[in-house]
Amino acid sequence: MLNDWLYLGIFLIIAFALPAVAILIAGVLSPKKGNPIKNSIYECGIEPIGESRIQFKVQYYVYGLIFLIFDVETVLLFPWAVAYKQLSLFAVFEAVLFILILAAALLYAWRKGALEWL
């Protein structure tokens, strides 16, 4: 178990180090001749107006919210799915109830108009 994690850890370190090293090498090779015009922000070819941190609408938050709820519910369902073959029909219906409550959450969000991209 810990050996698996060791391999995974090494793999992750290499996977994230490789692009970093590539970017560093390219940084050494590439010219560095910045000037204020070149470094200015690109927006459709005209000068940027206002600051970049614009106000967002609440819709993004609502989608994130529903995603979070579904994510946590499926996290509870994954151990259940692993045990599925050893479970009785009763336990399956418990999970169906669980998923139905999840579906009710989706239904509420839908009826409330929270799923509309306005």
Partner: protein, 408 residues
């Protein structure tokens, strides 16, 4: 064990006997082997991407009635290498007011998040990175790191369009993760394990035959997850300049490019592992290298499908894309999950033929019902026309015959 049948394990054994012969301890040898294995796999994946870029451009060219790259080498196969050399010597431009750390970290996270998926995929019956009991959840979790890279690119660039695009992209990605995770539960419960190799081993009948609708939903969402057309909303040039990576240049931009191309093949790889039986095929148990060939063949087929869809279907609008996910895919996958778990419990596993036919019947039933409901809903709520067409340019003396307040 011969070299031709199972080269990876042959080399591993040879190396470990060599190292132990030099007096290295067993655990140290293991560590060295892990480092070599992981390094070879990641480097191989990155160089494979170079080939993938050529392949995608070539196939894309053919779809659009062009030649595609054709100058450097036979069939232009050295084109991506020339591009790579060029991009290595391009200047990095950091926009004024950029948030340096997130800005520079974003391309690394984007590539690393995709590369990390290769750690758990079983390539042959004896060659797999790790098979501990979390593979499927790991795949989803690593996808979340890619989301984080995109959001960092948007936040760090100090550019409204990059920020808007990054947020849209993340909203899309997390939305499509919901049906994806829900349908991934189905192969997990068929095999009774979260480990990828266990899932492959348990597929006496491929999962796509047991759960065709789940496979279809997973395929759709994985296209959406890597932001390919028709879901390539984050690079809608006309609305968002070029997406969250507008301020990137040089290899930092190249890394997003690499991540994009690598991700589409990785999606094909994951799909064929989970639903198409991975390395399974005639003779793959005894001759492991055959399994690798099967896996690559299956993935190439899926990859070609992804490309086909990319080059033929036009882009969605963002509201259509969100509606498609939340009002169509998610309800279907919830219903599918509930029906599948009840039915599969009722039918004994050894009645393979009956099991497959019942699953097919139920899946087709759900699909037809969803289609009926969808067309009825579309009839009662006709599609919104977002913008009214502008009046055509005309000389001022010509009268306009436009109905006041006419609906279009």
């Amino acid at each position: 064990m011969s070299f031709l049948a199972d080269p990876v394990n042959f080399i591993t054994q040879w190396l470990s006997t060599l190292l132990i012969g030099w007096g290295a301890s067993a655990s140290f040898t293991q560590l060295i082997l892990y480092i070599i294995g992981a390094g070879a796999l990641t480097l191989g994946a990155l160089f494979f991407t170079v080939f993938l870029i050529w392949l995608e451009r070539k196939i894309g060219g053919r779809f659009q009635d062009r030649l595609g790259p054709n100058r450097l080498g036979p069939w232009g196969i050295f084109q991506p290498i020339a591009d790579m050399l060029k991009i290595f010597t391009k200047e990095y431009i950091t926009p004024t007011g950029a948030d340096k750390v997130p800005f520079n970290l974003a391309p690394i996270l984007a590539v690393g998040g995709v590369l990390a998926m290769w750690a758990v995929i079983p390539y042959a019956s004896t060659v797999f990175g790790v098979n501990f009991n979390i593979g499927v959840v790991y795949l989803i979790a690593v996808g979340a790191i890619g989301d984080l890279g995109i959001i960092m690119a948007g936040l760090g660039s100090n550019n409204k369009y990059a920020l808007l695009s990054g947020f849209r992209a993340v909203a899309n990605l997390i939305s499509y993760e919901v049906p994806m995770v829900l349908v991934l539960l189905i192969p997990v419960l068929f095999s009774g394990s979260l480990g990828m190799n266990d899932i492959v081993k348990s597929q006496q009948t491929w999962n796509i035959f047991l759960a065709p609708l789940a496979a279809l939903i997973f395929f759709t969402t994985s296209i959406a997850e890597n932001g390919r057309a028709p879901f390539d909303l984050l690079e809608a040039d006309s609305e968002l300049v070029a997406g969250f990576n507008v301020e990137y240049s040089g290899l930092k931009f190249g890394m997003f490019y690499v991540a994009d191309f690598l991700h589409s093949f990785t999606a094909a790889l994951v799909f064929s592992t989970v639903f198409l039986g991975g390395w399974r095929g005639p003779g793959a148990e005894t001759i492991p290298i055959l399994g690798f060939v099967y896996l690559i063949l299956k993935s190439s087929l899926v990859y070609f499908l992804i490309l086909h869809i990319r080059f033929t279907i036009p882009r969605f609008r963002i509201d259509q894309m969100m509606d498609f996910n939340w009002k169509f895919l998610t309800p279907i996958s919830l219903v599918l999950l509930m029906v599948t778990i009840v039915i599969d419990k009722l039918i004994p596993t050894d009645l393979t033929f009956i099991r497959i036919s019942v699953h097919w019947a139920v899946n087709i039933l759900i699909w037809v019902a969803a289609d009926r409901i969808l067309s009825a809903a579309l009839k009662s709520h006709p599609a919104k026309v977002v913008a009214r067409p502008r009046p055509l340019a005309r000389p001022p003396h010509v009268a306009v015959d436009e109905k006041p307040g006419g609906e279009i």
